[in-house]
């Protein structure tokens, strides 16, 4: 029920303080319902698509969240990075890694299956 558009390359800023607000490989860029017809450039080499046919969009929306300083108050919610999570593409199981890097598309069965492949952004 959900498809995730994930960046397949690093963008960067030479200022380390600003680089945390540059999108990186593995960041979720957009989430759409199953069957979404992605744009002409929403594929390799710029993007991967992860399909989660049994997962609701609302269950994965958290992967679009920015990283908040845990020391800031609830009222402040100081943003310290453009994303809180990213898909750890480099450490995917061998078959999944080769599939996503070759085909640009990976289908997973459950949100838990996706959760365990995600690390702090």
């Amino acid at each position: 029920m959900a498809e995730l558009l994930i960046l397949a390359f690093d963008t960067s800023n030479k200022d380390p303080a600003k680089d945390v607000f540059a999108y990186k490989k593995g960041h979720v860029i957009s989430i759409q319902p199953d069957g979404h017809k992605w744009g002409k450039e929403e594929c390799l080499p710029k993007f991967y698509v992860v399909k989660l046919p049994k997962v609701a969009v609302s269950d994965v929306e958290k992967y679009l969240e920015q990283k908040i300083d845990i020391l800031s108050t609830e009222e402040e919610r100081k943003t310290i990075a453009i994303r809180k999570y990213k898909l750890d593409v480099a450490n995917l199981p061998t078959l999944e890694k080769s599939t996503i890097e070759k085909d640009g598309v990976l289908t997973l069965k459950s949100v838990d299956d996706f959760d365990e492949k995600v690390i702090s952004g």
Binding site: F21, G39, E42
Partner: protein
């Protein structure tokens, strides 16, 4: 120059969200725009759709005054000077966060509608921090949803030198501030022909002397239409209900109902009515230094109509809808056929 154009469409385009276009094209535009191998302007055209993903340029771009991100909505796909659910719009409904974030210098945004529809008290429709040369032109920023007591339709802030131009824009924000400007050099922001009505606190808010305001209007705001002292030297021809409009040539709207000024303010239509007190009381800014590279330099208002004569205050220029001349053709036979045309 290697300019490039990418499209955002619900189907058939290069991208299906503005955010994907911004992430997918992030690069050094002064050396390699959109993979062309040359410096260029990256134009991202957004077509009619509801874009539900928050858009963020990120900081992965290198830009300059000549090579920059140009986010635009083609005229046929653009709002008509009021919130339009048939045209391109960012409709972001996450609890918090900002609908459109600009973190790349010199970014130009024209014709965008952005709405943050969440529930958290601090969120923004359009936000930019620590940038120089950013231009917001003919945009509508809206805070909807609930709470939002610290949410601004437009928030342009920094603690250091930065610069913004905001022209022909409308803030719709019943929950807090319409346009909010932070610290920096004076003026940090030039704000021309913008409209902020019925904001819960301020229509326009900023640090002392930081915003150069011309032809702006605020009315019925909870705390003050303009906060005291925010206007930079040179601010002129602004209008307020409560006498807070900065500097010279203030237009007083005291005692004048919104219904006598705008077509349907209650529903966010800030086009001017025929006898609006904002008509013909603004300054002509088409040759103003800070209007360069904006629609004001071409004497256009928020919906692309031409400003003429003495300009109006606010995002809309009143243009009378004169009826088409009635042409009556009659044939009179007096030995020969004579056609006469009467134009009424």
């Amino acid at each position: 120059m290697a300019n490039a154009t990418k499209t955002v469409k619900s189907s058939g385009g290069d991208y299906t969200s503005l955010n994907a276009a911004l992430a997918g094209q992030a690069a050094n535009l002064t050396t390699n725009c959109a993979g062309t191998g040359g410096a260029g302007i990256l134009t991202i055209e957004c077509y009619s759709m509801s874009d539900t993903t928050a858009a963020n340029t990120g900081t992965g771009y290198t830009t300059s005054a000549s090579y920059y991100i140009n986010i635009t909505v083609p005229t046929a796909e653009r709002h008509d000077g009021k919130w339009n659910t048939a045209k391109y719009r960012i409709n972001y409904s996450s609890e918090g966060g900002d609908a459109l974030t600009i973190a790349a210098n010199y970014t130009r945004v024209t014709g965008i509608q952005a709405s943050q529809n969440g529930t958290y008290k601090t969120r923004r429709a359009i936000r930019s921090s620590n940038c120089v040369g950013v231009i917001l032109d003919s945009c509508i920023g809206r805070i909807a949803g609930t709470n939002g007591a610290e949410s601004n339709a437009f928030l342009l802030s920094s603690s250091t030198t930065y610069s913004y131009k905001v022209v022909n824009c409308i803030a719709i924000n019943p929950l807090n501030i319409g346009f909010s400007f932070g610290e920096g050099a004076s003026p940090t922001a030039t704000v021309y022909n913008c409209t902020a009505i019925s904001c819960a606190t301020y229509g326009f808010y900023g640090y002392s002397g930081r915003a150069l305001l011309k032809n702006c209007v605020a009315h019925s705001c909870g705390t003050s239409d303009f906060n005291s002292g925010m206007g930079a030297t040179g601010s002129t021809n602004n209008a307020s209900e409560d006498g807070s409009a900065p500097n010279t040539n203030e237009v007083s709207l005291n005692g004048i109902d919104l219904t006598d000024i705008f077509v349907d303010a209650a529903n966010g239509d800030y086009h001017l009515v025929v006898d609006s007190p904002l008509i013909n009381v603004g300054a002509d800014l088409h040759s103003d230094t800070y209007a360069a590279n904006t629609s004001l330099a071409s004497s256009l208002d928020i919906d692309g109509e031409t400003r003429s004569g003495t300009w109006d205050i606010g995002a809309d220029e009143y243009v009378s809808e004169e009826p088409e001349p009635e042409v009556v053709a009659s044939s009179i036979f007096r030995g020969s056929i004579m056609n006469s045309f009467i134009v009424r």
